[in-house]
Symmetry: C2
Subunit: 377 residues, 2 copies
């Protein structure tokens, strides 16, 4: 291999591929980054066995030559170490050249590194994902969906399916559900025709988290292909592959109650700040529970911790309907839910002190956040 | 106690006092912040037993009324919890009012906190420091001195005096020395008359580190008072007290060799970047040693780690005198030293492969950095 490549562009792509690479891997070669150079392109590959990222760098980007290939070849190099070198080198370009025994000479400015590599033939093949079952979602919409649901996946491995987001395919809509069994986030994408045969796919929350860091807030489409146990996201020069979670996702459709007993419409940001303040006392007392009392036209948040103190804050409702109510909930779940609704006004519907309550935009039901109350009475 | 105080200004002062307060304290009351209100001022006190900070807030700052005292009094409140509340409250002002049993009601906007406190009578008295032995140094100069020396103190407690900076008082100058026995930083403040009777004082590096975060880069004088085992820094409304380290600081004056064998003048920032690059390989190999070879008009940095690889980088010297040389040193010490010399050009003098070498500005000898080489030959 012998190439010259524009350093800034290369560094950016290396940083993206790093998101799939872990140093704590059971297969040592996976701590490396694979570089495949052919006559007209360079392909970077990184994988941790669960997520794989493949980025293709062409010779020209936006009519600017960024890659010159003198001799094709392959290499596997220590990923973080190699990326650090490219990042810190002097000059606009970096040169890579094979030495003997899988090593690569990395040069830029007046620096000359020779770094040892691994045998590229030992690097595992990426899973193949055919493109029979595929949909397209604009990158900006996909990012919104991830932001609105991903925080609610479970961080515990006791029920592995709950660590993923359940994608459900209906004839003219898609539903995205995440729950850790204490709260649930549901995002609906309506008027979205698709010809997908499978009924659902559970995508690991960790994979969506990394994908969200790489794709940009643009109108460009992401093509998403599903196979038996893998999902492939194609976005520009990027291919992002994740395994799917196996198992049955619980039926969450019956969780949503109808006919509220109490309904509160409130300013999202003001309510968020009030919860944040009141939760200070709860957190200092070692828990996250805060109490809400709704009574005639008055909404009162409060918390009380023996030996620490107590707090009360009245919040102004924009609208209030139904019965008086006392309910306790986890302040962090409430703040996560409010942050996941990108609207100024939210509508909160309660179905009694012991029943889950829902939070959604006051103008749309694309996103529904559901929280189970805490039993304190 | 009953007061009203401007929230933004109060938050800033609380944050400064927090720098002396630790949650890991053997005396539980020290995790609290003491508030003393008299008719015309509020005093905040925090201490971890080693460092104490006292800030006086007057009723007016820059002709603006910031404090209204309705009733004087004292309180000791959980420091971080209380500061978080004040920071997150709504509104421009916060109200404090004593409740029974050392508690305080904290109100702002529509929030009402009642937080439990401790008995202020149980809060320890701050050490007294008389002002017989005192000097004045402009805040900006004091900050520079700390930045140029403090990084070189020892982080190990095996020789406690080395965790401090040794301040030496001469008739017309002050010397500040820090060393961890592998490298040394010496800053001289010349033409500084002082009438201090003691010959030296060893100030803990940790105290200077916190002080540096509080004082601003201004021309305002800091008055520094020394007593038997305490030092007091007075700066505006701030009093910052630290204990002094006991014991004899080693005599470092004989460490500085004369008559260099090799002398190199080099661009500080270019050299720093080159060291940073070459050290990548050394660090990946698990150590910090890099090699420098000086030979006729050529300066070569290199590092070699079996199984990882090797690197060579030539650096351009601005001037080169004396004998050829091969020497190895810790790259981190070299980078720390270069960063601590705020000049474009540095002059490095070598006295042989096994002897300490010195780094200083090419135009001034106010700061001398000394590094012991690593034996690799």
């Amino acid at each position: 291999m012998q190439i010259q490549i524009q350093r800034a562009y290369f560094t950016e792509q290396l940083n993206d591929v790093l998101k799939a690479i872990s140093n704590r891997t059971t297969l040592p070669i996976l701590s490396g980054i694979k570089i495949e150079v052919s006559s007209d392109k360079l392909v970077l590959i990184g994988s941790n066995g669960e997520i794989s990222i493949e980025i293709t760098i062409p010779t020209e980007v936006d009519n600017e030559e960024i890659l010159t290939v003198t001799e094709p070849g392959e290499a596997v190099l220590p990923a973080r170490f190699f990326t650090d070198i490219v990042k810190k080198l002097d000059g606009d370009y970096v040169q890579l050249k094979s030495t003997d025994q899988f090593g690569i000479q990395v040069s830029g400015g007046k620096s000359n590194f020779v770094i040892s590599g691994s045998n590229p033939d030992h690097y595992p093949l990426l899973p193949e994902v055919n493109n029979e079952e595929s949909i397209k979602i604009a990158a900006s919409v996909l990012k919104t969906i991830i932001n609105e649901t991903n925080f609610a996946v479970s961080s515990s491995e006791t029920r592995p399916v709950l660590t993923g987001v359940n994608w459900q395919f209906f004839d003219e809509s898609l539903h995205f559900t995440a729950t850790d069994s204490h709260r649930l986030a549901l995002r609906k994408l309506n008027d979205k025709e698709n010809s997908i045969e499978i009924s659902n796919a559970i995508i690991p929350g960790k994979a969506l988290h990394e994908l969200n860091k790489i794709i940009e807030d643009s109108e460009e489409d992401v093509e998403i292909n599903f196979s038996q146990n893998q999902v492939l996201f194609k976005y520009g020069h990027l291919r992002f592959i994740s395994r799917l979670l196996e198992g049955n996702y619980p039926d969450t459709s019956r969780l949503f109650p109808e006919n509220f007993e109490t309904k509160l419409v409130i300013n999202n940001n003001e309510f968020l700040k009030a919860i944040d303040r009141v939760s200070l006392l709860a957190l200092e007392g070692g828990n996250s529970a805060i109490k809400m009392t709704i009574d005639n036209s008055r909404v009162l948040l409060s918390s009380n911790s023996p030996e620490i103190g107590n707090v009360e804050e009245e919040v102004g409702a924009l609208n209030l309907e139904g019965e008086p109510l006392q309910i306790s909930f986890n302040s962090r779940y409430m703040m996560d839910a409010l942050r996941a609704i990108p609207e100024e006004e939210v509508s909160i519907e309660f179905f009694g002190t012991m029943k889950p309550f829902t939070i959604q935009s006051s103008t749309s039901n694309d996103v529904v956040q559901l929280i189970l109350p805490i039993r304190t009475y």
